[in-house]
């Protein structure tokens, strides 16, 4: 996936730092024509407008990890779009020139904002962990003495700790810095975002696969060694989507001297660290409305035969739809090897496409 222009993700994404970096960073790169990576501290300054002071500092100190942050953000966007491809709000990113298209109204406390925060935070944790395993970060990650006091000597004595801890720690420091660095803004929103960021990371951690191997005389389990490996990110996306469907509406209450998010409806079960929380109701996303940050569903492709949310009835909010015949050229009778070499024929296929009025 390549992004050549600076885009802001529809709805509340514009406030979400990591995604801003992807889009704006790529624009800067496209303009300057240099390679598509964070290579020097200067790269942090290029995206500096999108970062707050804390994040800028962090970016400069961890320039080698910033590419993983960027990859994590792309991963999060594509997963978000995959999970919401059949819904009225489909996690689209929209073109933007100078300023965020959707002003403060989109600085939302809705379920969608909760999802986006959660998946982005998860995406960054995931990508950083992955990068560790690929060896791109060298001795950072589990062997970083800043994180667990282990050095080269420590590695020889006891090995390194899990990369996931570094990934999660990094995501926490970087993504949450946005919220913590806020000078203004409602404390409820800050708490909500921090909670959802954390929920996303927890899902990655929860789905890490624990695998063990026994060694010993003729395979006996004299010594058992366990390790964790990353799950498929689709699994993470699906789980966060489930949490989106069951998200809890909350409000901030003062309990003792601490401010705590509690369910607005007191009969509801209190949310756990894995659950998503929101404070504002979502708009219906039927019509474009810059106040709510909705793009509307005009022109969206829908399924004529479905009764669900991807069906034309619901998707088009009763405005009706237009069906037309189109000819699609598709790959067919492909000869495939496990990679790369795909020889296909082109088949023309006549299909019916419905789109909302």
């Amino acid at each position: 996936m390549t992004f050549c222009t600076c885009r802001f993700t529809y709805f509340s994404l514009w406030q979400l730092q990591v995604i801003n970096i992807v889009y704006c960073f790529n624009r800067s790169i496209a303009l300057s024509g240099s390679s598509n990576n964070f290579i020097s501290k200067g790269s942090c300054d290029l995206v500096g407008k999108q970062l707050n002071h804390r994040q800028l500092q962090f970016c400069r100190r961890n320039i080698d990890v910033m590419n993983s942050v960027k990859n994590g953000a792309s991963l999060a966007v594509s997963e978000c779009q995959h999970q919401f491809r059949h819904r009225r709000w489909n996690c689209t990113t929209v073109q933007f020139e100078r300023s965020p298209v959707f002003g403060n109204s989109a600085n939302g406390g809705t379920r969608e904002a909760a999802f986006v925060h959660s998946i982005s935070s998860a995406g960054v944790a995931y990508a950083v962990t992955r990068s560790c395993s690929e060896g791109n970060l060298g001795r950072k990650c589990g062997c970083d003495s800043k994180y667990n006091g282990r050095s080269e000597k420590g590695w020889k004595w006891a090995g390194c700790s899990d990369d996931i801890d570094f990934g999660i720690g990094f995501s926490k420091t970087f993504v949450d810095a946005r919220e913590r660095g806020r000078k203004s803004g409602s404390p409820t929103r800050v708490e909500m975002n921090l909670h959802n960021n954390n929920a996303g990371r927890m899902v990655v951690k929860k789905f890490m696969k624990l695998q063990c191997k026994c060694h010993g005389v003729s395979g006996s389990c004299n010594v058992k060694t366990c390790w964790r490996s990353l799950p498929n990110f689709r699994k993470v996306g699906e789980h966060i989507k489930e949490k989106f469907d069951g998200a809890t509406e909350v409000e901030l209450r003062l309990i003792g001297s601490r401010r705590v998010l509690v369910p607005r409806n007191e009969y509801f079960k209190p949310h756990t660290v894995y659950d998503l929380v929101y404070i504002d109701h979502s708009p219906n996303f039927c019509n474009a409305d810059s106040d709510t940050g909705s793009l509307g569903t005009r022109g969206r492709v829908c399924n004529r035969t479905s009764q669900a949310i991807d069906g034309c009835e619901l998707m088009c909010c009763g405005r009706g739809y237009i069906t037309r015949q189109e000819v699609h050229v598709e790959r067919c009778s492909c000869k495939f090897h496990w990679c790369c070499y795909v020889r296909c024929q082109n088949c023309r296929k006549r299909v019916e496409v419905s789109a909302c009025k």
Partner: protein
């Protein structure tokens, strides 16, 4: 034959027991607090390199090769990359670290990540067996520092074929979508870690082979080795234990030599047990257990009170042979049970015997039961530790405070310490005694009897008066 155990005063015996417990605790603490976990696993994700068409078999280093981010990129690459050009490269350890000879061994496994593609999916063979994955793997090594630093040298190259077992997990929202979970494939093991860095190149042949495995996105690689710290602690323990055990053995041997008679089979067995324990290590653990069992057969046999003298290895060839054969646990169970019943039967008959015989039997029973209880305790603990270390995944649960005690290391050093302490306390306690039998006032004897009565099921009345006499007559009767 009186042994030290019988001539030791209760107070000294207790002090000795306390010393043993303290030594045992030290072993556990060294393992739990000083040593790290016995092994470490590091996960790697293979980097994807594109081989140069003119040098297809060259060793590729992810740092310097022509690298692409993903297989997807290869498909859209304008250079028209072919499948046989793709090389999965893994360098271990990660950059900036190096392997150490203290690591002892390296074991690895790989796991494939497959992408769901409706056109090219993973398919099983017609008979339902998993498709086979064939790959060509090269292992290379290098040293980066010192006088013998050099560039990558090939170590092994091998063409392998392994079954690829994967399971499709359907997406909840879309029946046409999902992902695969594939099982780990054992890859290779190296018995010593001689070099600083290692590099693995994996190539997957295409065209004829690998056409049922679906679309690969990643190769995950796991490298496991013994922790350097654990090796060091383990070596240190052995270095400390070995001279101590040799000294004890020499002491025992001299003690037996001083006697004006040939050494008994039991003494020989005990000596052998000590020798085997002194040289026991990881690999020879089986030898130790085998020797322990043989010793037990002899020990039990020599304490069978209703049969003539044996003192000859030939009378035990059956048992020892059976042990060598592997039926260890069954045999010991059978023998313990039989001997135990034999002894208990005798004990019921004791009051009807002459005093001298009575006391001889009591001595035998005491010696036997003491050892039986200790052995069963040790064996039981070994089994318990073994089970704990096999099911111990507590440290792998998330969200819990990281444990400051390395349980598995503590179990290793602890069991090692326990058997050493066991064997050498046997050697000491069952060494022939030169001390005069206890003739003190009765108070010590009372205590001593209390201790004994805990192991004895029945204590007949009037024993207090008899016990002093027992010490005398028992000795003389045996002499």
């Amino acid at each position: 034959m009186a042994v030290i155990l019988e001539t030791l005063r209760l107070r000294s015996l207790l002090a000795f027991a306390l010393l043993l417990v303290a030594i045992l605790i030290t072993f556990f603490v060294v393992g739990g607090k000083i040593a790290p976990a016995p092994t470490t696993a590091t996960s790697h994700i293979a980097n994807i390199c594109v081989a140069n068409l003119t040098k297809m078999d060259a060793i590729l280093d992810p740092e310097t090769c022509n690298r692409i981010d993903s297989i997807k990129d290869a498909e859209s690459d304008p250079r028209q990359i072919r499948a046989d050009q793709i090389v999965f490269t893994i360098r271990f350890p990660h950059q900036g670290l190096s392997m150490s000879r203290w690591f002892q061994f390296v074991a690895t496994s790989i796991r494939l990540d497959l992408e769901h593609d409706p056109e090219f999916h993973y398919r099983k063979n017609a008979d339902g067996s998993p498709p086979s994955l064939s790959f060509k793997a090269t292992l290379a090594y290098r040293n980066k520092q010192g006088p013998d630093s050099h560039d990558w040298q090939s170590m092994y190259t091998s063409l392998q074929e392994r079954p690829l077992v994967c399971e499709f997990v359907q997406s909840q929202s879309d029946s046409n979508d999902g992902y695969y979970n594939c099982e780990d494939i054992p890859f290779f093991e190296i018995g010593n870690v001689y070099y600083e860095e290692y590099l693995v190149n994996v190539r997957l042949p295409s065209l004829v082979k690998n056409n049922q495995i679906g679309k690969i996105t990643d190769i995950n690689f796991v490298e496991i080795h013994q922790n350097g710290g654990f090796t060091k602690v383990w070596f240190t323990l052995k270095t400390v234990v070995a001279p101590v055990s040799i000294l004890i053995l020499i002491w025992f041997a001299q003690r037996v030599k001083k006697l004006r008679r040939d050494s008994l089979l039991l003494e020989k067995a005990l000596f052998c047990l000590g020798v085997v324990t002194a040289f026991m290590n990881y690999i020879r653990q089986g030898l130790f257990y085998g020797m322990l069992m043989s010793f037990w057969v002899i020990f039990a046999g020599e304490h069978l009170v209703d049969q003539p003298e044996r003192n000859n290895l030939k009378s035990y060839w059956k048992q020892v042979g059976a042990i060598g054969f592997g039926c260890l646990s069954l045999l010991i169970f059978d023998l313990s049970e039989r001997v135990f019943w034999n002894i208990r039967g005798k004990r019921a008959a004791i009051p009807t015997m002459s005093r001298a015989r009575q006391l001889q039997y009591r001595g035998l029973i005491y010696r036997f039961e003491f050892l039986l209880v200790v052995t069963i305790l040790c064996a039981g603990l070994t089994v318990v530790f073994f089970v704990i270390s096999s099911v111990n995944e507590a440290q792998w649960k998330f969200g819990e405070e990281e444990s400051t005690v390395e349980i598995s290391s503590a179990l290793f050093t602890g069991i090692y310490g326990m058997w050493n302490v066991y064997v050498f306390s046997l050697v000491i306690l069952y060494a022939p005694s030169s001390a005069a039998p206890i003739t003190d006032d009765g108070s010590d004897e009372n205590e001593r009897l209390e201790l004994r009565s805990r192991t004895e099921v029945r204590v007949s009345a009037g024993e207090t008066e008899e016990s002093v006499v027992y010490q005398f007559t028992g000795k003389s009767a045996r002499d």
